[in-house]
């Protein structure tokens, strides 16, 4: 049979936020007119959905709804520093900073309303645009609460800063605390290898990843699915080549990317092991999602045809050459 199937597994770990240096992020929050909210922070949405994540965090922390939240994003002259979009850091660093800022803004509002109702501030609850005092008949919507707050001369604003307790590495033995949060994951790949052409198709990936606490599970899945397909590209087809420094793959006709026909079915399972340090328990997923894919696929290729690919990518040419080399070594085993 020309088509052979196999399965492989690989694990991973990853550090969250900047490596071996102190990371930090700042944010401002305001419970705004109409019971809406304004968050300003130097966040950079690069497609992962961080704006929605921050709106969810702000909504829950303040007691409004995500669609009521307006986010003022990255502008170095207008927003507080939240540093860069990378290192799987935005949900962790900026998410926690936004939570801290929201808690301060909420406290300002709650103090006024508690005084107004003459109740203990601990009794005050806020959720989805409503504010009430537990165990009493006191209740109003957030819009009215903001009006009342402003009538008392208080604008409910807050600021938040979140930083890490991390260190550089020792230059001799590398010891240090490069991150304060770590995530772990594991993926299983199922492949089919065409032994006549060397083509590998990845048919299924099962991906289990610890993300701390999933703010938006669908968004986490989307990161896992996208990461896996990007890794599959590197594992099987993508290959930027140069000849004496001149690229020979200058466009998408030569530099081959995964398309809708190349992708496996992905089954994501989210593992939640909350971060014990940050206020939200969140960690991250952007980068670790793609780490186990390639070795899982290479282990699956080995399972299918007994050939170990150690040089990426596992193009049909390379797989075929490895099959032929194996057959030459073991002529009896060849089919």
């Amino acid at each position: 049979m020309a088509r052979k199937r196999g399965r492989g597994v690989a694990g991973c770990w990853y550090g969250i936020a900047r490596t071996a240096t102190v990371d930090r992020a700042g944010a401002w929050a305001e419970i705004d007119d109409g019971g809406t909210a304004k968050i300003v922070t130097g966040v950079t949405e690069i497609g992962e959905g961080i704006l929605t994540v921050l709106a969810q965090i702000a909504a829950e922390e303040l007691g409004v709804r995500p669609q009521d939240v307006t986010i003022g994003d990255n502008d170095t002259a207008r927003s507080p520093e939240a540093a860069h979009a990378g290192a799987t850091r935005q949900t962790y660093m900026i998410g926690n900073a936004v939570a801290v800022a929201c808690r301060e803004a909420r406290t300002k509002l709650v103090d006024v309303i508690a005084q107004h109702w003459d109740v203990d501030r601990e009794l005050i609850c806020t959720a989805a645009g409503e504010i009430w005092a537990e165990g009493t008949n006191h209740r109003m919507d957030m819009e009215a609460a903001v009006v009342l707050c402003k009538q008392r001369g208080v604008v409910p604003v807050g600021s938040g800063s979140f930083g890490t307790d991390t260190t550089g590495l020792d230059p001799v033995d590398g010891s240090g605390r490069p991150w304060q949060a770590y995530v772990f994951g594991c993926q299983v790949a199922e492949v089919e290898v065409d032994t006549l052409t060397g083509e590998v198709q990845v048919l299924g990936i099962w991906a289990a990843h610890d993300v701390g606490r999933a703010v938006n599970p669908r968004g986490v899945e989307a990161q896992i699915e996208g990461g896996i397909v990007q890794a599959l590209g590197q594992g099987l087809m993508e290959d930027y080549r140069t000849q004496d420094g001149h690229t020979t793959t200058p466009n998408f006709a030569k530099y081959i990317l995964p398309t809708s026909l190349d992708v496996p079915r992905v089954t994501s399972v989210i593992v939640e092991d909350p971060d014990p340090i940050g206020p939200l328990g969140v960690k991250g997923i952007g980068e670790p999602a793609m780490i186990p894919t390639i070795p899982a696929v290479m282990n699956a290729i080995y399972d299918a045809i007994g050939v170990r690919i150690t040089a990426l990518p596992a193009t049909p040419e390379r797989v075929l050459a490895a099959i032929q080399e194996k057959a030459a070594r073991q002529p009896v085993a060849a089919e």
Binding site: T76, R177, T247, F252
Partner: protein
Amino acid sequence: MPDLTIAASVNGRRVSKSAKPHQRLLDFLRDNLNLTGSKEGCGAGECGSCSVFVDGVLIKSCLVPVAKAQGADIETVEGLARSGELSVLQKAFHKTGASQCGYCIPGMVMAATAAIRANPFVGNEEIKERLGGNICRCTGYQKIFEAVELARDVLNGRLAATALAEDEQEDGRFIGANVRRLDAPSKVSGALKYAGDMVMLGMLHMAVLRSPHAHARIVSIDASEAEAMPGVEGVITCADVPGEDGFGVYVHDQPIMARGKVRYVGEAVAAVAAQDEVTARRACASIKVHYEPLLAVFDPEAAMRPGAPVLHDYAPDNLTKHIPIRVGDVAQGFADSDLIVEESYSTQQVEHAYLEPEAGLAYVDHDGVVTIVSPSQNITHHRHMLSRIIARPINKVRFIMSPVGGGFGGKEDMIYQGMLALMAMKTRAPVRLVFTREESIIATAKRHPSRTTLKMGLSRGGRIRAVEMKMICDGGAYGLSTEGVVRKAAILAAGPYAVPNVKIDTYGVYTNNTPSGAFRSFGALQAQFATESHLDICAEQLGLDPFEIRRINAMRDGATSHTKQRLKSVSYLRALDVAEQASRWEKGAPTARGDVRGDLGGDGTRAPCALGARFDDGTTPKSQSEVA
């Protein structure tokens, strides 16, 4: 050639507009009609971001000369939600979270619309086929398939329209809820403006002259012809840098434009701003640069040898960074091992291939603030660096993030924003630069290619006694993120395993190749590819199930990492258990037993592709299994 007058129907409205004969339909839509929902991703018909309907047929508008649009009926993404309400398909994209960076999405929406129009009962396999000409770099396509299937079923009546509604959260708990992406409507409708979609009154267009040499001394640059060209408003070289030139994520070794010598093919040497893009490119081509070629080095190991050509004076050994990790005594660990396995691994250079090529817009505002709008992943750091480079106080430098059409680490480097700033300062006019796909590929960073040797010693029972790894990463011509990449690679190289003896050395090396930089998973991918492949080789020799060998060695809560950090909570065992269960893994040593496995082909797998088998005649609805 004289200008054309194009009369056509666009989104149901008659338009009659002047066009240049060299324009493509995509340019006409974007530049002449301000319909910027159609995006340019490659300019060569490869990516599908510019897909529109012409006379009802889905086409790639970057391949169509504008003259062909004469009298045509054109429908763009802006036409789908003309009433102000998103189309069913657009709502489905919103519901399933099918958009991420959003840059490919207008084209994807058009291709998916075409699929459903062609066949209201389009099968799942046919959907894949019909989207095959549209590249998405973020989503992995799965949520896009889900969106198209959902829209198909709402449109053909199998599902009620309520299926498109957002799941309600009644308790006010939004952390943990599948809240729909707030930015999705702007992305699925093409309304969101990326930097390359933005215009300002009096805006100039910039083009960049790039090095044709991998390593050469610049003897002279003569731009007099370019400067004299009608329509040219400014030419800049490194001589226009007023401050301390140099940028990079760790070491500031890269000048805004080549200074004294070029170190890679594609490095910026000079730039021209003109009233239109064609003039800017023509003027660029007229700049005469006299180069004196130098010996170049393309192999990182060759670059590490004494006598190799030196790229940067500060690093006579071409070493960007070396990171050592030491735990215990590996010699003793190997002596105590029953099995020692040694293998070499290598990974290639990889392009980020975000669908949005680099673009930016710069101007000097009314308060004299040098302002740069660009899809950068790190404008905080860019501001610091640029303030020093242009010798202005930090509050006179402003970076504004434009929507990022994919980054993956590739937009962390300040590779063009400095040129934009200098040109805006020189011309006192807004200046825009949009990279071509080819320019994006040759000029910007790649994932570090790596060469790794890994030696692992284990006990008969599968316990790892020692790990020794050496990894050499080709950082290319400039430092960019190399230092961080080799650091992260080293820290994570031995995997989430308790190993008593560890010796890891990672090296970042300068060569005259395209620079390497930040790329999603940043060195950890290269290192763990080696370690996780290696564990399976060891498991086979020890007769252990691959999950088992990982469990035996997995770090537990309170473990000490290879950098001697005590970890509080370690969820690795949980992740292993969950993956094993979800995949219904059949236990056994990895002895190439694919032929005899009993766990293949079940839930969670797709059918393999068989060429030409996916299109049916479009009349009968079929389930996925029937099509497969």
